[in-house]
């Protein structure tokens, strides 16, 4: 009788073990990157306003010209 109880207990534990598993879902990733959101880090280039697209584009243009075009210096 005691042995039967042990076997029953073991069987029950195995049968219920799946109940503790977490459900797995697809597509739980963060939203894709959609461009600079305006967050400002300590490394940011001086003189441009984070989040201001026009300022960013202007800054990039200036950086490209002064940094790379040695005929324009």
């Amino acid at each position: 009788m005691k042995r039967l109880h042990i076997w029953l207990g073991l069987g029950l534990a195995m049968a219920l073990s799946a109940c503790g598993e977490k459900a797995r879902t697809v597509g739980a990733d963060a939203a894709p990157y959609t461009g600079p959101s305006g967050s400002m880090s300590t490394f940011s280039a001086p003189g441009w306003k984070a989040g201001d697209k026009t300022s960013w584009e202007q800054g990039m243009k200036v950086r490209a010209q002064y940094g790379q075009n040695d005929h324009a210096r």
Partner: protein, 204 residues
């Protein structure tokens, strides 16, 4: 709308590998992965040329077209990026890419192959700009800091140009004109030869 592009001026490139070093240092790229490399044609022969190559952030990117899990996306600035959480490391993108840009680290989630890693135009990934998670997966996000890619900004001879396609094309065109050259220095005829050149070659 900016369309971020690289141009390498082969007349100026001196094969110093400063761009490669800058990239590896900026993003702490692991051993064995080269997001950028310098290729030399006709090495040791007079007239040899070197060109710095990385992801060219194609307007119609073949890697995006072949990816079975759609992990690639394009930012508003025309930068082709990928989500490492979605990538399965299958390697299709490396077969599709004409520049050999996709790299596969030997250590990582998928053992020998690893998740794909490539040049991000210093624009990070889908995580929050400048976050630790973004840095660990993709490296620094210089674009969000108002800066151009480290490789181009570090280039000692300014052979490697990066930025808005119109701006860098303008800089390059200006250089070519200063060298007293014209449209013959780039394009199909220069790369593959014109019909008249082929005929002349056949005669001799």
């Amino acid at each position: 709308m900016a369309r971020m592009k690289f141009i390498c001026d082969t007349e100026r490139c001196i094969e110093c590998n400063g761009c490669v070093t800058a990239c590896k240092n900026e993003h702490e790229v692991p051993w064995g992965v080269n997001r950028r490399r310098v290729v030399t044609l006709n090495d040791g022969v007079p007239g040899e040329r070197s060109i710095s190559v990385a992801c060219m952030h194609c307007s119609d990117a073949p890697c995006m077209a072949v990816c079975p899990v759609n992990c690639f996306y394009k930012t508003d600035e025309g930068v082709v990026l990928h989500d490492k959480d979605v990538c399965i490391g299958c390697g299709y993108c490396s077969y599709a890419c004409p520049f050999g840009a996709p790299q596969f680290p030997s250590q990582g989630t998928f053992g020998v192959r690893g998740k794909m890693d490539k040049c991000t135009f210093c624009a990070g990934g889908p995580e929050a700009n400048g976050s630790q998670a973004e840095f660990e997966k993709y490296g620094r996000n210089r674009l969000a800091e108002g800066k151009l890619p480290a490789c181009a900004e570090m280039c000692s001879t300014k052979a490697l140009l990066a930025g808005d396609g119109d701006v860098v094309a303008d800089i390059f065109r200006n250089r070519v004109l200063k060298r007293n050259k014209g449209a013959e220095v780039w394009g199909w005829g220069t790369a593959y030869g014109s019909r008249s050149q082929a005929r002349e070659g056949g005669k001799s």
